[in-house]
Amino acid sequence: MRLRLGRTLITAAAMVVTASSVAHSDAVEGVDLVINEDITLVTRAAPPASLDGALPEILSGWLFREGETRAMEMDDFSNPAMVFVDQGMDMWNKVDGTEGKSCASCHEDISSLKASRASMPKMNEKGDDLWSMENFINNCRTTRMGAEEWKWSGDDMKNMTAAISMAGRGELVHPKIDGAAADWWQKGKDLYYTRFGQLELSCASCHEKNYGHMIRADHLSQGQLSGFPVYRLKDAGLVSIQQRFKGCVRDTRAETFKEGSPEFRALELYVASRGDGLSVEGVGVRP
């Protein structure tokens, strides 16, 4: 309560510098995410109606990182994730499985999947399940290529989702949350506000009530998905969306859900919808 009030006041009077703890650690102001001095991405947007006033503005995780980390994401030569994007592109063109096909055999240029990242997760073709990008990829591999499934957060899978996200860079996040997806969305929303674990913290405890604050060494963001998969400097590798969820749930001293579980797919839809209107960034860089 106190914290939310503090933030509202600052937004209302953006010029007034207060001594409050909010002021020195909120999202960075006056910067734009322009990649390769060419592509301007949306990192701040008006909240979607579905958020029902829960956030005054939606903010990319990029805005909560230090200048050096932000700069790495602004230039594909300095973005360490691009090596993995290249590896994903190699896999895109690589024939695998009993059918003698690659992804490119059916989809041709990866730009054909330009709209994909911004729409995920979404109902499958049959309309009986909500799928993350990982599910769609594995479905292509098993039913169309006769190839083995990839592990949810295995290297091949993360490289491929990174390549597809890059193809969708600049598209505005806009998952479908009505129709058959509505129940999934509601389930995801319930999970988002559930206070899990021995620390009894929900996603909202950290990413809605307290974004902009420091929790020990970490500057809390809104936990948006627009930069995913992200490159994490600490791990020197890519992090998938649900790998991040797992880490956050574990940090509440809770028993986590499994990557690919119905719970995490529902949560992914809900969290994605909270970022409706932000640009897909391709691959973000995080500390």
């Binding site: 620390l199 913290l201 749930v249």
Partner: protein, 157 residues
């Protein structure tokens, strides 16, 4: 593994002690958020309490609170208010209540309850992400709570 077994043994030993030795989490009586009597029946050790507050493996209070008197605790967070001068704002009994279960003082607060063992949703085995293999100990035991309270009582204006 070994340490978990040890912990289990310690708890079993504690449980076997006469009830007067330490008030079990379930038996704590809150009076408008405050706990009047020491959980151990003895005063705490402020220096030990400072360690509990700074350590990630124990209280990790500085994850959310600034304590200016504790500059050696790196990366102090600001999710909660600074604890400077806490003893000027709260009595010892109130501080004991806040540390044991802050939800009894601040309705719905994000501050975790450190002396509680049930009522959790999907509790895990500490930070492993796995289900617990037995009953959960509170995050801090009664002695650690009393030590933290003793330290907080040194934070005068």
């Amino acid at each position: 593994m070994q340490s978990r077994v040890m912990l289990g043994l310690t708890l079993a030993t504690l449980a076997a002690l006469p009830a007067a030795a330490q008030t079990a989490p379930a038996d704590v009586v809150f009076n408008e958020g405050a706990i009047e009597t020491s959980l151990t029946g003895a005063p705490g050790d402020a220096a030990e309490g400072a360690k509990v507050m700074a350590s990630r493996a124990m209280g990790n209070c500085v994850a959310c609170h600034v304590v200016t008197a504790m500059p050696e605790a790196s990366f102090q967070g600001n999710v909660g208010p600074a604890l400077d001068g806490a003893a000027g704002r709260w009595s010892e009994a109130q501080l004991r209540g806040i540390v044991a279960n802050a939800k009894m003082t601040f309705d719905g607060t994000v501050m975790p309850a450190f002396y509680k063992t049930e009522g959790y949703i999907r509790p895990g085995d500490a930070y492993t992400g796995k289900a617990p293999t037995g009953p959960l100990p509170p995050i801090l035991d009664g002695t650690q709570i009393e030590n933290v309270v003793a330290y907080l009582m040194t934070l005068k204006d």
